[in-house]
Symmetry: C2
Subunit: 216 residues, 2 copies
């Protein structure tokens, strides 16, 4: 059965996955330093980097495998809030967003879909996590759904028990403030088996696989 | 630049990667037990298994990423030796071989190519490792080449310094006899950086990245 998966989700030692306020200058809200140890290019696949294929890159490259659609929160798409006033904004990623699938952007404010030549499209939707997942599954052609963040979005899907797999990455930094990965999720690990492995880079990779056979 | 890559290559504690004699009954020459800890289905991608996405499966799934062609030795294709007498033999894999790309089969005995509906084709070639690699690159459309084994084939490519990356897997078994992974390759590690990580399954994964900038 198609899975709902979270990939390459960075968490600081103090439990934050993004900074507090997203701006045009700081797409991670000041938490950009958390990603300095990690080469994001690896999400394009182990073949797409001239650099060595390390454990970190090999694991990061599972990001796109078998994914038919992504779901993201509005602040991953852009720093704007409220009604869409600047329809020129087409996301952070230029003319070739790395997703190459339909992407459902959760927002209370409607906007027409955006389409890119490389297969990426953005569909703006006001929906509960369960309804958004069903909507994304319709777009995904039987493939898996990536719940792409930010952390508030992942938390909502975890709270609704809609996540089948997570690849979390503990980064050896402390942020002191930001958007928590774990608020309101005490005990969530009980629904998963967790396997962890450390990397020579200092990152620790965690594989969370949902144990319960059926969704709540 | 397109790489020549080895993936998911199992090696016993005593250095063997296959049993001594391939037969129809024993495609790994008696070393089949070496693979019992490993779920081969993972090579189809992390989305293609209903089982948990473990570290082992996540790493195995890099097998097909960005691969445009495979090169294999004849004994990986089948147990026959000498002239082709049974042209009905189309490999071990039935109607849908998992490769989904052109595959160059190294053999001194010519045979017409075989084509399958899922994108796999087999091309029989009598050539040196360097010439086989050039031939495969012509078929690969700019993507990477997987040197798929068996161990004698990988050893020949290593001896010719044609391998850019290897994902080797040490399996905690002793075979006592078989086809060596390492014969004639003393010091080969000097041409690579090696990163290793152990898995809860007992497997140890090794990532060999070639350090020298240009091929010998």
């Amino acid at each position: 059965m198609a899975k709902a998966r979270v990939h390459n989700f960075h968490v600081s030692l103090d439990g934050y996955s993004a900074g507090e306020t997203i701006t045009f200058e700081k797409p991670m809200g000041g938490a950009e330093g958390m990603f300095a140890r990690f080469d994001g290019r690896a999400i394009d696949g182990v073949d797409a980097v001239d650099d060595p294929i390390t454990l970190d890159r090999a694991l990061a490259s599972t990001w796109a495998q078998g994914i038919g659609a992504e779901i993201m929160g509005r602040s991953k798409f852009g720093p704007q809030t409220g009604e869409w006033t600047d329809d020129e904004w087409r996301g952070w990623w230029g003319d070739a967003p790395p997703f190459r699938t339909p992407v459902v952007v959760l927002t209370h404010h409607r906007r027409d879909p955006l389409h890119f030549d490389n297969g990426t499209s953005f569909h703006f939707l006001d929906a509960t996590p369960a309804d958004a997942l069903a909507y994304a599954q319709d777009l995904a052609g039987g493939r898996d759904i990536r719940v792409g963040g930010g952390p508030s979005t992942v938390r909502q899907f975890l709270a609704a028990d809609l996540i089948d797999f997570m690849h979390l990455i503990t980064v050896p930094v402390t942020l002191g403030a930001g958007v928590s990965m774990w608020d309101g999720l005490a005990g969530v690990q009980d629904r998963f088996t967790v396997e962890s492995v450390s990397s020579a880079s200092g990152l620790v990779h965690h594989f969370w696989n949902r144990t319960t056979a059926d969704r709540a």
